[in-house]
């Protein structure tokens, strides 16, 4: 659910192409930058700076939804567990064990010895405090819905809710929590790995949420060295009493410099004021590559871009039309010529690092203008040979959408018109499920590396399925029903691995029906100075800043 950072913050939007690429990517291995090897020496101490966008909020379990914000949260708070994005292994942090026999009732045992930065011990009550705060409707948190699978969540919603606490969560003793879900869900631990929603909350914090937002009290490896300097900087220092060697950090001090515009961060880097640029603006990547070729980290990120079809619109109900439009997109050319090579063309709907992802499973994702034209003609063409392309115009999508539209114009002989508007009215139009009369752009960033997270939120029930797949009269009711059943089947499997075949079958249905045009998956473009070593990236924790060491 994390939102591309800087999407609606103060960026100068036109000049940047696709600001999506700032979240997530392929594991800790080095993939890129002309054989960049930047092994960490493991040396401790020192300080370095890294760019970020203004975060939303630090009060735990409240309103942190951008990748930049959750990056800082995951340094200042240590959650129950982390998920290794490559192996999907669960690395327990605060939790001693997380167990369930039926996938519905979970028992979490906590490690002893963790304290908050103010000295309070972290126990079961601390977690309950945070979770109940998040889920309680009148608190109006933006992460509360992560608890919607927990028993008693519904009673906490509405204007005057019946309950103030989650009935399904109990502190059995000081270090044991029991969670009861509404139905079995094998990936519940993965959901709980999302620290911005599942962090513990200190007593002092609960007493004064506002103060805690400016000067957070976490239980993580780093603590705030000073108050949050809004729009300027956030300085973290090592928390001296942090008990967990494994998840401790190397540098003594990390300064997050806050930039409103990506382009400025790069220029500050050039001037020697910044050690790590979290994401170089696409327009500057050519130059950066020329100048700092071996100081760039390109890693696969979880961002997924696609165009949806309004299936309620007759013009797009013929599957050949949907296939034709997808076939007439030269993904690689657009990536090379407009997006500076920083994307991976989609050959499926799951990015490579997600378990169960397969390559080349999308038959209609390659570029084949002849076949496209043939299918387009067979489908009878669009009314007036004219397509309306919908996208939001505050995210820097203009250029590549235009390149895509030019391709349709040339290969299919259709005229195009843009229906572009800011994000709010755009979502409003999509939400009507009737107003949008052409392909619409959307993207996705994962919360946890599970195929489920790429299926249910996009195509499932109550999701951003704005094209109304499975809606009445679309002729797709049956396939959608089957899709939902397969996802449920995957969710109910006792382990993630065992659920994979069902998820894959569900993904196949999406592609067989060509419900969307999969476009590409993002890559990061991280630039670092020779002052730091060991810069690595994970699709979930973003840059692994704890592992970065400072060259002395």
């Amino acid at each position: 659910m994390r939102r591309p950072k800087r999407l609606a913050t103060f960026a100068l939007p036109v000049a940047t192409a696709l600001i999506l690429a700032s979240c997530s990517g392929g594991g800790t291995e080095e993939e890129g930058g002309n054989g960049a090897s930047n092994e960490s020496s493991g040396q401790e101490g020192g300080s370095f700076s890294v760019s970020t966008a203004e975060p939303e909020a630090f009060a735990p379990t409240s309103a942190c939804y951008s990748s930049g914000c959750s990056q800082i949260i995951s340094m200042v708070w240590t959650g129950l567990l982390q998920v290794d994005p490559e192996t999907t292994d669960q690395q327990l942090r605060m939790a001693e064990s997380i167990e369930s026999e039926d996938g519905q009732n979970w028992t979490i045992k906590l490690k002893d010895g963790f304290t908050f930065h103010n000295g309070e011990p972290v126990n079961a009550e601390s977690f309950l405090r945070g979770w109940n705060y998040a889920a309680y409707g009148p608190n109006a948190t933006q992460v509360g819905f992560f608890f919607d699978k927990v028993q008693g969540y519904d009673d906490m919603q509405g204007k005057n809710p019946k309950a103030k606490t989650l009935a399904g969560v109990k502190a059995v003793d000081d270090l044991t929590i029991e969670v009861a879900l509404n139905e079995p869900f094998s990936q519940w631990p993965m959901v709980m790995s999302y620290t911005p929603a599942f962090a513990p909350m200190a007593k002092e914090c609960e007493a004064d949420i506002k103060a805690c937002n400016e000067m957070p009290i976490g239980n993580g490896a780093y603590q705030f060295a000073e108050k949050w300097q809004h729009n300027q900087s956030i300085t973290l220092e090592k928390f001296a009493d942090y008990p967990d060697e494994e998840s401790a950090g190397l540098a003594d001090e990390i300064q997050f410099k806050i930039y409103g515009d990506l382009k400025t961060a790069y220029r500050d880097f050039q001037a020697g004021n910044l050690d790590i640029v979290d994401s170089v603006d696409p327009s500057q990547r050519l130059q950066a590559e020329g100048q700092y070729g071996d100081q760039i980290l390109k890693a696969e990120s979880g961002s997924y871009s696609y165009f949806g079809f309004p299936l309620y619109d007759e013009a797009f109900q013929d599957i050949k039309m949907r296939q034709a439009l997808s076939l007439a997109i030269d993904r690689q050319a657009i990536i090379d010529r407009v997006l500076n090579g920083d994307y991976e063309p989609a050959t499926g709907i799951l990015p490579g690092f997600v378990p169960g992802a397969r390559e080349d499973v999308c038959e209609f994702c390659e570029y084949d203008p002849e076949r496209a034209k043939q299918l387009y003609d067979e489908a009878g063409g669009l009314p007036g040979d004219r397509v309306h392309i919908w996208f939001n115009n505050d995210g820097g999508h203009e250029q590549w959408v235009q390149a895509m539209a030019q391709g349709w114009q040339q290969d299919l002989g259709i005229d195009f018109e843009f229906e572009s508007m800011p994000f709010t009215p755009y979502l409003g139009a999509l939400g009507t499920r009737s107003k949008v009369d052409g392909p619409y752009r959307l993207g996705w960033l994962p919360d946890y590396p599970s195929p489920e997270n790429y299926l249910n939120p996009i195509y499932g029930a109550g999701s951003s399925n704005y094209g109304d797949w499975g809606g009445e009269g679309t002729g797709t009711e049956e396939s959608h029903q089957k899709f939902l059943e397969l996802v449920d089947q995957g969710n109910a499997a006792p382990t993630v691995e065992e659920g994979i075949p069902a998820y894959q079958a569900a993904a196949d249905i999406v592609m067989d029906e060509m419900v969307v045009i999969p476009l590409w998956f993002g890559k990061t473009f991280i630039l670092y100075s020779d002052n730091v070593e060991g810069v690595a990236y994970s699709p979930l924790d973003q840059i692994l800043l704890k592992q970065v060491s400072v060259v002395s």
Binding site: L12, V14, N393, Q406, F418
Partner: protein, 302 residues
């Protein structure tokens, strides 16, 4: 772009009372103008740009929609004298076609603000009293609202962002300075003998306004308008740069500059240089025209 629109304001404050124009003033002015090389050059540039806007196909045979993605961002040469754009279109063609929105916006917005601002200014200055109070306070509200903030709020509301909405916003926010200047001129005129005389002879207000006030207030309106044309061209480009002006696939200098700005400093300067030069030359020429016009119309300047 600190408030492109209201900035020219009062540049000419000291010449406010030059309303007493006569027929011979205009013909004198014309003679003087065509002797000035600056005026002639500026006029030529403006005429050329207007011809780009009106008849782009006179200047280029290439269709602006003919774009080859695989040939994008090419430097000048190779069949494209200005190189190619970010999306592989011919830059020269786009610079030519890009003139139209700028010119249309500049001319129509200038006309409309002159009409609205001039009209309200005359009403406010001539009648005074409550009319003046209401119009002046309204002017304060609009003038106090920073241009960009106002433009953003209006454009967010209108949802659609095209040449008409941009023009609407520029007009809504741009008429105020014209109103103030004209009001000042009219107040000075109102108490002059010939107006008093007409009133004493029982002339109706509307008659006085059209017969006496308007002709005399015309020269500041014209001078100010030519000065404004340039700033409206720049204002459109700024809005477009911020992403709230014209939208692709429209072709405009603002869009070209916004697209090219980042890449230009990364070694592809032609993406920025050509549209910027076109924009700067146009703005410059309009301002020079206004300048010369003012000098010529100001009898004391001789």
């Amino acid at each position: 772009m600190s408030d492109n629109v209201s900035t020219v304001e009062l540049e000419d404050a000291s010449a406010q009372d030059k309303g007493a124009a006569t027929g011979s003033l205009w013909s004198d002015a014309r003679k003087q103008l065509f002797r000035s090389p600056v005026f002639v050059v500026a006029l030529l540039i403006v005429l050329v740009v207007i011809s780009w806007a009106a008849f782009p196909s006179l200047w280029t045979n290439t269709s602006p929609e003919h774009c080859v993605l695989m040939e994008n961002r090419q430097p000048p040469g190779n069949g494209h004298i200005f190189g190619t754009t970010v999306l592989g279109c011919d830059m020269y063609t786009h610079v030519i076609y890009g003139a139209r929105p700028s010119i249309v916006i500049a001319v129509l917005v200038t006309g409309a603000t002159a009409l609205v601002g001039g009209g309200l200014g005359i009403l406010s200055g001539y009648y005074g009293g409550w009319t003046d109070t209401i119009i002046s306070r309204l002017t304060d509200v609009v003038l106090g609202l920073p241009f960009i903030l106002g433009a953003l709020v209006f454009l967010a509301l209108l949802q659609q962002q095209n040449i008409w909405t941009v023009m609407f916003v520029l007009i809504v926010l741009g008429w105020t300075s014209m109103m103030r200047i004209v009001r000042g001129t009219v107040i000075a005129l109102r108490d002059q003998d010939f107006v008093e005389a007409a009133r004493a002879m029982g002339a109706k207000n509307s008659w006085i306004i059209f017969k006496h006030i308007l002709p005399n207030a015309l020269s500041p309106i014209i001078v100010l308008s030519t000065l404004y044309v340039g700033t409206y061209v720049a204002a459109e480009a700024t809005l477009t740069f911020l992403g709230v002006g014209l939208q692709p696939p429209a072709i405009s200098w603002g869009i070209l500059i916004a697209e090219g700005q980042g890449l230009a400093v990364s070694g592809l300067p032609h993406l920025l240089v050509f549209p910027s030069v076109a924009l700067i030359l146009t703005v410059l020429s309009f301002i020079m025209l206004g300048d010369s016009l003012r000098d010529a119309l100001d009898p004391r300047g001789r």
